[in-house]
Structures are given as C-alpha cells and as structure tokens.
Amino acid sequence: MLQVDLTDDPIDASCMLSRVASKRAGATVLFTGTTRQETDGLTTDWLEYDAYEPLARRELARLYEQAVLRFQIVKCSIVHRLGKVSVGEVSVAIAVSAVHRAEAFASASWLMDRIKADVPIWKRQVNDSEAFWVHPENSDMLAKNASRCSQESCDELS
C-alpha cells in the first residue's frame, strides 16, 4: 500500500487512519484540508487541482522520509486529490501515528507546511463568474533554483 499518493478519487479518512495503525503508537493525528466556500471575500464553487505528477510524488516521498527521521514518528500517510474537488470535500489528508501526541501533532503540521511550499500541485478556484489559478505571493519557487539568469545569457539570446 502506498504511503504517499495522488488520486482522482475521494479520500477515505478511515482508510488513512488504518494505514498508520500500529501497536507502537500512543497517538494518531489525522489532518484533512477541505475546499471552503469563501476565500478573501470570493465565493468558491469548487477547486480544480493539477500536478506535475513525477516530481509531486517524489517530493511527497521525500517529505515522508524527512518526517519519519525528524519527528521519529511510527507511521505516516499522505494523500492529495487531483481534479475537481467540491466545497466540503477533502483535498488533502495527512495521517501520522507516533509514540506521543507532541510528535504526531508537530509532524502533521510540519508536513502540511512543506506540502504547501515544495510539492508541485496547483489549485484553480472556480465560481459562477470567474476561474483562476492560485499562485501565492509567499510561495515563490526561485529558491528551488540557485540563482537567476545572468544578463549576458539574455543579451546573447536577444
């Protein structure tokens, strides 16, 4: 069974919990992100998610491995929806089991922060009158590449 996944199907929260069940765990945290009806005063009818799947799967697996090392959790499962996700439906779920609750809460929170910063998944906000891709101002990706192009490179091409 995959511990990280991208899926077009609805996410089953009870399945997520069973994936991380362990006799070693004294705490289990399940986080679900859902499509909300209003964002910054704009109504949302549904979200559409797209991903660069090879890199998204690789990044999710990397975050999974980092979380296991960093927080010494027992088990972890991360699933993100793709395609249309209506208001109230789950778009992302993280389940973590750990010996104690502090590690379980901390790792789930850390994983969600990293997913929102590192994993190439995008949402398109859709309502009756408009639709637009969300590219948050605070999640510039430039740090992923070491530096910008030099002026010489641009001059050569122009």
């Binding site: 660069y52 910063a117 994993v119 999640s139 590449n145 192009c149």
Partner: protein, 98 residues
C-alpha cells in the same frame, strides 16, 4: 544510438549550433502561454539560458516566470545545470496544494 545522442548534445553545447528542448507548462503559466508544452531553441543548454529564452519567447508570462522554478528530469534543477535535448523539463510556478 545513445552514443550518437550524447555526441550530438556535446556538439550542440560546444559550438554555436542552436538546438531545441521540450518544456512542459502548468497552471497559470500554461494558461498565459496558451499551451501545455512547447519547444524552445537554446545554444548552451543550461537552465539559466532556458529561463532567458522563455522570457523572450513568452513575454506574457511576466513576473510569474521569474517566480517559477525549473525542474529537469523530475527534480528541481540549479540554474547552471546542463540540459540534454531529451531532458524532461518543467516550469514550476508557485505551488498552491493543500
């Protein structure tokens, strides 16, 4: 065949011959460009040069391109990384999962 491909890339990098790479686009970048994939001419086959070539070829991307990362063969690449004509290249605009 593989050897020929490597030699071909090497020749392209060493001289002034212009080659092409294929680039995948996503989300707002694809929407502004009007395509999900395109071919771009490059001379030195570096990520930095590709970024500049895209700025010229797709001016409508504006600041969104400069806020985007570039991935090569399924990994975030550094700006000085070398490309091959058959590299899988993707432009990664600011992400919004969750």
């Amino acid at each position: 065949m593989w050897k020929n491909m490597v030699e071909s890339d090497s020749q392209l990098r060493s001289g002034n011959t212009v080659g092409e790479v294929s680039v995948k686009l996503f989300a707002g970048v694809a929407e502004l460009a009007g395509v999900k994939e395109l071919r771009v001419s490059v001379k030195h086959f570096t990520v930095a040069e590709l970024r500049c070539a895209l700025e010229i070829k797709l001016p409508q991307l504006g600041p969104l391109l400069s806020r985007s990362a570039i991935a090569v063969d399924g990994r975030y690449a550094t700006e000085d990384e070398l490309l091959c004509s058959n590299s899988e290249i993707a432009i990664i605009p600011p992400v919004s999962g969750g």
